[in-house]
Subunit: 347 residues, 2 copies
Amino acid sequence: MVERTKPGEQARTFLPGPRQPSLADVAGMAGVSHMTVSRVVNESGPVRPETRERVLAAVQKLGYRPNTAARALVTGRSGTLGVVALESNLYGPASTLYGIENAARESGYGVAICSVTRPGRTSIGDAVESLRRQAVEGIIVIAPHVTAGRALAAAPADIPLVAVGGGESAPVPVLSVDQYDGARRVTEHLLALGHRTVWHVAGPEDWLEARDRERGWRETLEGHGLRVPAVVRGDWSPRSGYEAGRALAGKRGLKAVFSANDQMALGLLRAFTEAGVRVPEDVHVAGFDDVPEAAYFNPPLTTVRQDFIEVGRRTFGLLEERMAGGDAGARHLVPAELVVRESTGPR
Amino acid sequence: MVERTKPGEQARTFLPGPRQPSLADVAGMAGVSHMTVSRVVNESGPVRPETRERVLAAVQKLGYRPNTAARALVTGRSGTLGVVALESNLYGPASTLYGIENAARESGYGVAICSVTRPGRTSIGDAVESLRRQAVEGIIVIAPHVTAGRALAAAPADIPLVAVGGGESAPVPVLSVDQYDGARRVTEHLLALGHRTVWHVAGPEDWLEARDRERGWRETLEGHGLRVPAVVRGDWSPRSGYEAGRALAGKRGLKAVFSANDQMALGLLRAFTEAGVRVPEDVHVAGFDDVPEAAYFNPPLTTVRQDFIEVGRRTFGLLEERMAGGDAGARHLVPAELVVRESTGPR
DNA sequence: CGCATTTCAGTTAGCGCTAACACTACGTCG
DNA sequence: CGACGTAGTGTTAGCGCTAACTGAAATGCG
């Protein structure tokens, strides 16, 4: 299915041309030494205003663009950060990536990404290696995963590296949203509605976020001296939530369910609808993430919001500190916020 | 909220060390010239097996990693591609990004991203410029936007550039999913269910995909000699779909609605539920995108699936062709696939 | 055996840039 | 008025690598 180029809408031909202009070319045109041009371009060292003007005019005219490779070669700094991202459309990781990219660009860094399909020890190692070959100055690993944490334990010591959303015991600075506290808040919210207990649809066991959310839920129940029902485990997908919902729908005394993320909550809602279980009339349901759709689920979903822009910003900040040689601490938490909607609304 | 480093779980200190080993260091250790090492590393030129062994051992021992900057400086090739991505969690663009990254990495390219908040002419220009400063060899613009198309019209001619999902009349090769055909298929599907017409909740007017989907819907109705209802316009968000749903719920003769994406369809479903309009009993609803959640909407949503991995792969292919100096044609289409679920199910 | 070719290795130059230093012109100040 | 800073500019070296050439030894072959 290819419409070939037609006159009038023809694809422009790429012209490599002779060569990009260099400092020397600009210098020649402006009648100065290449060093003066360098000083103007980098605003390093004093230059007479009229000389600067001449140089700038030549830069403009020739369309001069500094050669990053040459600059990186001599300075040893590439101006690029690497991000190891999980290849998924999960709301959290994707949002974090944009948060990081924004913060980095504001500070003049470029961002190279390397996505990882399955977050195993080797694949993350490969990703890090691949980024190092791109001469990144520092690396951020989006690693909400247990194996990722292990991979980080083997992380190279000779490049600044920080992790976001995981790596509990990894020997690198880690930033994450306070999953434990978020889960605690949801559970408290559900209990405050008068329920005797809260069921939990957990995320995959090998995700740290899933573990923390589960722990928050469990310890809150225990703190109230309540019975802790067996968890139903899903894989973050709506499908697994749906299956969990079918398993739960029949349970006696099922009044409140906390799903470890919104997607599974969606599947849960669907299964309950099919089973004739009404939300919120018969059962209260809450999720985690506050995806943009959550407010329009049927019914709108009570959930926990995470500020991923902030997460990205602060993660970048950690890396910056690390690159400057600072310590950056070990573990940083960003608070989560409970968002109450109809799925836990009045009966 | 910072737990400071404690003994036993302390953050490793970053050691810049003296210097990364260079070709010369490896050469010294292996007792050969740096050129021989270069030949071994790049597998260019013949080297005696035992010499190669010695070199490889030295490479291993020193942890030698080629300096990309130096290599790029001398070869003029950076091995990096740039992707201009829309900063959004919209399913399509995010998936496309991963598709591209995958394909690029398989071919040995690194990927630098530059996200754009509002796809205006200047911001895309800035993004392209920012990537060029990172010395990318080619650029892919994920530009499902009308203004993006205009920005591409002003794209620089001296760097290979292709677009995905938009840029209708742009002077660059463009690849996109066949939105028109997808919309046509949905509409035909709804008409085949016996409806006298199909209503449409459109996407933002300045998105090309929205335009194509609307055109596919409109021309299908016209082709059948049917009345074309006024479109209700949304902004892709569930909220706007919800509002559209409230506006539509009262309409007389409302039997079938085609929403330009799944998120809006979700809002639509929610609004219908609140208004007591049953889907599929009273009204049939279809969406576009097939987000992972769509199968678990309430009811599961009939929609149009797009293969974004394929889109990424083929887009990268276009860029490769362009970088090789080829023409790459003007406009390429990837077919879309109708997925029928309960929201247009039997009554 | 003589000469051409191939194999394997080394030498040299230079990519475009910045760091470091050198030089000039002009104050400033004791 | 000479010593000394400072502004403004130039010169030089070298970052680590590959392209291109050079050279020596081994090989082919009529």
